[in-house]
Symmetry: D2
C-alpha cells in the first residue's frame, strides 16, 4: 500500500474505520506558518458525519489531536502529526459484511490483494480515511495564504443524479455554498436536491452526482510539464477520492465536439498581464497554470452501500444475498465537497513548493 | 520539471522537438526479458508522423537507437537507454511562433514558468516527447507477457467530434482497430471519420474526440489503495498526454445519473472465480483490479495549431495576430491511440512489480 | 524536513522530545506478517532511557500504542501507525538552553535553517526520535523472519574511547551481547567499560566509541547497484543516527593499506555454493550482497551534552557560557546498539522487497 | 536497479562499459543557468582514462554529446541528456572473464541478482558508469555558482597505501592539487606516490588509499535532519562510488577517542556571524550545515583487477584460476578525485534546491 501523497509537501495517512483511529503526518511543510487547532477542527467539521440531516448519523466528534510539529501556533518545519480517534464503533453491525462481499465495495479486492481484510467497517477503504487528507489540507491552506496570497479553492455540488445546479463560477462565494446543507452553488436548487436525497434514502437507495471545483488567483507557472502536469496531478488526486469515476477540466468531454477554431483561447493583454479571452483550457496550458481560473469537475457514483437485498458471494465462494446495514450516506457529495477542496489544495501546495525549488533570478 | 513516471518500473524521458533528439531511460525493468529492436520500432511506427494520409506529413523515421541495458535480445536488469534523433527539423517555419504565443499552446506558460523557451517547435511540449513513452511501453509489454500472460491492452478511437463509433468491447480485436487508418474500433464509421478529418483539415481547422481503452485479463490485486489507486494512476497517466481534457472509468460521468441499486455490480461465482454480473466499476474496486475488464475513456481537445488567423500577444506583451504554420495533425487521435495504450501499459507494469514486492505465502 | 526512510518498506517518523509524543508510520509492509505488541515493546525497552545504571535516568515507559494496520496479531498490508507518548518532560530544565546554543548540538543549525526551534529539549534532534525507527524495525524483523529465514542482525559495542573489545564475529551471540549492560561483545571488557563510563560521568564529561554490526545469512542479490548499493544505503542509514561520525565496511579504512593481491577475496565452492576464502569485501560486492557475513563499524562521537562550563553564544548573538543540565547519557553506545540494528534491519527489509519486485523465473 | 540520485536535482545514469555508450539525464535543473559544452568536457577530461602515465591506458576520448535541455548556452529547465560513446572496446580481452568470476569484482553478485551479466568488461559495474555523474556535476557546479556564490568543492588524495600527505585544508587550492598527476594536496609527497604506484603496477599488483574532500563557504541550513542529514547523504554518495569502503566526517573514527569536553566545538561570534572555535563537527551539526568548512574522508580499497594468478570459480561452479587482463588502473585514486567532488557537488545542489522549496520570509 502507498499512503503518501505529494513530493515537496508530503502527507502520509493511516488508519482503519474501526480501530484506534485515523490520522496523518505532514512532512515538508515550511516553518513559521501560523496554524491553530481551530482551523484544523473547522476543516474536519465540514466533512464530519452527523453534520446535517442528509448525511450519515454516525456520531464521530472527529477531534484532532496534534502530536508534533506545531508550537505556539507556528509550524516548526518538522513533521506535523495529527491523530483522530475512532469513537462510535459498532463492529457488531458489520458481522454479516465480514463474510459477504458488499457489491461495488472494496471487500473482495482487498481480500484478493492482501489475503486479509479489516474485520469490521470498510477498514482502510472507508471514506473515514479522508480525515487525514482534510486535516493536512487545513495546514496547506495556511501555507498558500502565506506564499500565494489571494489564491482561493472553492468546490460545490454541481449535480445530484439528474438535478443540475446553475452556477456562475465568476461570482460564486464560499458563503453561498455553505448556506445550504447539500453544498450546491445554486441555492435555488438546494431544496430540490435535499428532498431528492431524502426520498432516495427512504427507499434504501442512493445517488451520486458531480462536484465542480474552482481555483481563483492561482499563480502562473505551477505544474511540472510532462508527467506531473498540474491537471494530471489534479486528476490523480480526484480519482484517489473514494467513489469517483471521472475527471474533466476546462472544456472537458464536451470540448471534444468543438473544432480548434471554436476551442482555442485567444490571448490578449490586460493591465500588463497576459490573459485569455475564453477559458476552455481551464486555467492550465501544457501542464502549467496560466493564471486564469482553474475549473474542473469530478464524477461521484451513487453510494455502494444500499439497504436493499443484493446478490453477492461469500469470502469462501458461496453465492448468497446481502441486506445492507450500518450508518451510511445515501449521497456522499455534501461531505465530499471539502474533500475535493482538500485534494486540490494539497496539489497546489505541493506544486508551489516544487516551483520555489527551481525558480530564481 | 519532472520527466519521471512510475515507481518500480520507472521511465525518464528527455528531448525537445527540435534539437539533438528525444529518448528515454527505463529503470527497474526485470532482467532476462526478451526484447528485440523490431518490437520497439514497431511500436514507434504506430505513433510516427507521416504514417497515413490523415496525419502530419512531418518526415521522421523515428529510428530507435538502443544504447544500453539489452544484450543478445535480453534485458540485463540495468537501465535501458533508447534514443531517437530528430531529423526533419525546419526551425525556420517557427520564426513567427518564437515571438507570438500560439493560442492554447504551452508557449506562454513555459515562458512564465522558466523565463526561457525552446526557440523552435513545441520544445518539450511537443507530442514528439511521447516517443520515449511509446518505446518504454514496448518493453513494458514484454514484461507483462512474461509476468502476467494473457493481459491485453487495446485502445481505439471512440469518437471524432460528433461522429461516434459503435463498438462491443467484449469482441473488439487489435486487427479491427489497425484495419483502418483512423484506428477506430468501428470500421463502418472509419470512412466517415476519415472524410471528416480531411474536410476539417482542408478548412485549416482541427477536431478532437474520445479514445476508449480496454484492458483484458488484468490480474486481480493490482493498484495501491488510497492515493495510488489503479484508476488514479491511470487518470494521471492519461491527463499527462498532451491535449487531453478528461478521463472517466466504468460508468463514468453517465453513471452519476443512476441510483445505487441500478449501479452496483452484483457478485457471482464462475468456475470457482469471483465475477461481477455487470461492470460499471470498470474492472477496479477500491483502487484495486478485480479481474474484470478495465475500461476507460479519454477526452482529447481539437489540435491547438490551426491554419486560420488568431488573436494573440507577443512575448513582449503586444497584441497581434498569428497565422498557423508548420506541419501538424488536424486530428491527433489516430496517433494518440498507441500513446494511450503505452501509458496504460506503463501503469500496469509498474503496479504489477509493486505488487510482487509485497505479495507472498 | 524529510522524515521518510526506505522505498518499498517505508517508514515516516515524527515527534519532538518534549510535546505530545513521537512515533512512526510504516507503509509497504506485506500483509499477514505475525506481529505482537510485545515484540515492539521489547525492542523499545532495549533503547529506553533508565534501563541501567550507565544510561540517562530520564523516566520514560516508552509504551507503544498501535493505532492501525494490525489485527489479531497479523499485519493488514495497510499503514501501521505506532505512537509513544512523552511522559517525563521537564521543560524547566531547558530554560537556559532555549536561549544559549549548546556546543556541538543542533540548536544553532535548526535556528539557521527553520528560523524557529522547539523551545525545550532537543526537539526533533533528540535521540528520542529514534523510537519510531526501533518500533518500525521490530516489525521489519518479522518480515525478514518470514521472507528471509535465518537472517540475523547483531550489533555490539566494539570500543568505548580507548577500551577495545576482542570479539570473534563468527561465534558472537545475542546472549553474549545482552549479558552486560554496556552491550559489548566482549564480556571480559564489559566491567572495565562500565567503570570507565561511570568515571567519566562523575567528572561531568562524556565518551564515544565504535559499534560493530554483523548480518548473518543475508540472501545473495540484495542491493541495487550504482546509487542504492547495499553498503551505500547502510552508510546513509548509519550516518542518519545522531552522534555518528563515520562508517566503514569490510576492510574499511585499514584496507587501504593493503595491496590488491593481499586484499582480494578469492572464490571457492562449498556445498555447491560460491563462497569467498576471506571476507575483506564485508559481504557486499558491487553493491550487492554475496551471501558472506556483512560486517561494518560505526563511529559515535562523545555525547555533546556535558556538565562542565562551555563557551557559546545566545540566539541573539551574544557570547556567553553554558552550564550543562538535564538528564543525559554520558555514553550513548549501549542504547545505540539497538538503533544500529534497527537501521540495518530497515535497509535489509527495504532491499529484500525491492529485489522481490524484479526477480522471477 | 536504481540509477537515480537526488530528489530536487535528480540524475539518472545508464550504460555499460562496452556497448553503445554511457550517459545521464539531469532533471530538476533550474532554467537559465549558463552552461557550455567546454565545462562538461573539462570535467570529463579530469576523470578520463589515459590522462597520465599512472592511469589506465584505455583510449577513450569521452566526448560529451548534449541531446537536450540546453540552448544557446543556457539551461531550459527541461531534462538535460548527455551521452558519451564507448569507442575503445576490446571485448576479446574479456573472454576469460566472461566465464570466470574476478575476485572482489561484481561478476558473481550480478549473476546472483540478475541471472545474466554484460558479457564483456565490467558492464554496469565498471567505473565508466561514473561518467554520467561527472557530467551532471559539471552542470550542478554552475547551479551552485549562481545560487550559492562562493561555494567551493575540493578533493585531493590524502594517502596512497601507507604514504600520507600533509595538507592544511585552510589554504589548499585547486591549483596545488592539479599540479601533480596523482592529485594529492601535498606536492612534496607527489613524486613518492607516483613512484609507488608505478612500482606496484610493475609487479602486477594494485593499491588503494584515502581521498579527502573540503567544501568551503557552504551556506548554513543545508541538509534535511533525520534521515536525509547532509552527512548521511554525503556518506551514501561516497559509498556509491566503486571501490569505496569507508566514510568519515569531521573528527571521524579518531574522534571516538576524545571526551566530550575535548571534542565539542565552542561557539563564538565573528563579524555578526555565529562561528565555532574548533571544527570537529566537520561543518555539519544535527544533519544541517553550520557554515564552517565541511571536511570528510573516503577510503578506497586497492583495485580488484590485478595481473597475478588468483583462485576463483566459473559461473558454472568449477574452481579454477584467473590471470588478470585488460587495461586497468593500478590505483584509482587520481581519477577518483573528480568523482568524489562530483558526488559532493550533486549532494549540495540537491539540498540547496530542497531548502529553497521551504525557506521564506
Amino acid at each position: 500500500m502507498s499512503s503518501t501523497f505529494g513530493h515537496a509537501f508530503r502527507i502520509h495517512t493511516y488508519g482503519e474505520s474501526h480501530g484506534g483511529g485515523v490520522g496523518v503526518i505532514i512532512d515538508g511543510c515550511p516553518a513559521r506558518i501560523p496554524v491553530s487547532p481551530e482551523m484544523i477542527q473547522h476543516a474536519l467539521d465540514r466533512r464530519r458525519p452527523g453534520q446535517s440531516e442528509i448525511v450519515t448519523p454516525r456520531k464521530e466528534a472527529d477531534e484532532a489531536e496534534i502530536h508534533s510539529g506545531i508550537q505556539d501556533g507556528l509550524t516548526l518545519g518538522t513533521p506535523i502529526a495529527i491523530h483522530v480517534r475512532n469513537t462510535d464503533q459498532r463492529p457488531g453491525a458489520y458481522d454479516e459484511m465480514a463474510v459477504k462481499y458488499r457489491p461495488s465495495h472494496a471487500d473482495f479486492t482487498y481480500d484478493a490483494k492482501y489475503g486479509i481484510r479489516a474485520a469490521s467497517g470498510g477498514g482502510r477503504a472507508s471514506a473515514r480515511e479522508t480525515i487525514g487528507r482534510v486535516a493536512a489540507a487545513a495546514i496547506a491552506t495556511q501555507v498558500l495564504r502565506q506564499l500565494a496570497p489571494g489564491i482561493e479553492v472553492l468546490a460545490w455540488v454541481h449535480s445530484i443524479q439528474h438535478l443540475q445546479a446553475q452556477v456562475d463560477p465568476s461570482t460564486i462565494t464560499a458563503e453561498q455554498i455553505e448556506s445550504n446543507i447539500v453544498r450546491t452553488g445554486d441555492p435555488q436548487m438546494a431544496e430540490e436536491m435535499i428532498a431528492h436525497i431524502k426520498a432516495v434514502r427512504s427507499r434504501g437507495d442512493s445517488v451520486g452526482g458531480v462536484i465542480q471545483c474552482l481555483i481563483r488567483n492561482c499563480p502562473t507557472g505551477l505544474g511540472e510539464p510532462i508527467f506531473d502536469k498540474l491537471e494530471a496531478d489534479l486528476a490523480k488526486a480526484m480519482l484517489s477520492i473514494p467513489a469517483t469515476k471521472g475527471f474533466e477540466i476546462g472544456s472537458g468531454f464536451a470540448g471534444t465536439e468543438l473544432t480548434g477554431s471554436q476551442h482555442n483561447d485567444a490571448f490578449f493583454m490586460e493591465d500588463g498581464r497576459v490573459r485569455t479571452v475564453s477559458n476552455r483550457s481551464g486555467g492550465i496550458q501544457g501542464g502549467i497554470s496560466n493564471g486564469e481560473d482553474i475549473l474542473f469537475r469530478v464524477a461521484f457514483k451513487p453510494t455502494a452501500t444500499i439497504m436493499t437485498n443484493q446478490q453477492t458471494v461469500t469470502s469462501s465462494g458461496e453465492e448468497t444475498e446481502l441486506q445492507g446495514k450500518g450508518r451510511h450516506d445515501a449521497c456522499v457529495l455534501p461531505r465530499a465537497v471539502p474533500i475535493v477542496e482538500a485534494m486540490a489544495t494539497l496539489v497546489l501546495t505541493d506544486h508551489l513548493l516544487r516551483q520555489r525549488a527551481c525558480a530564481w533570478g
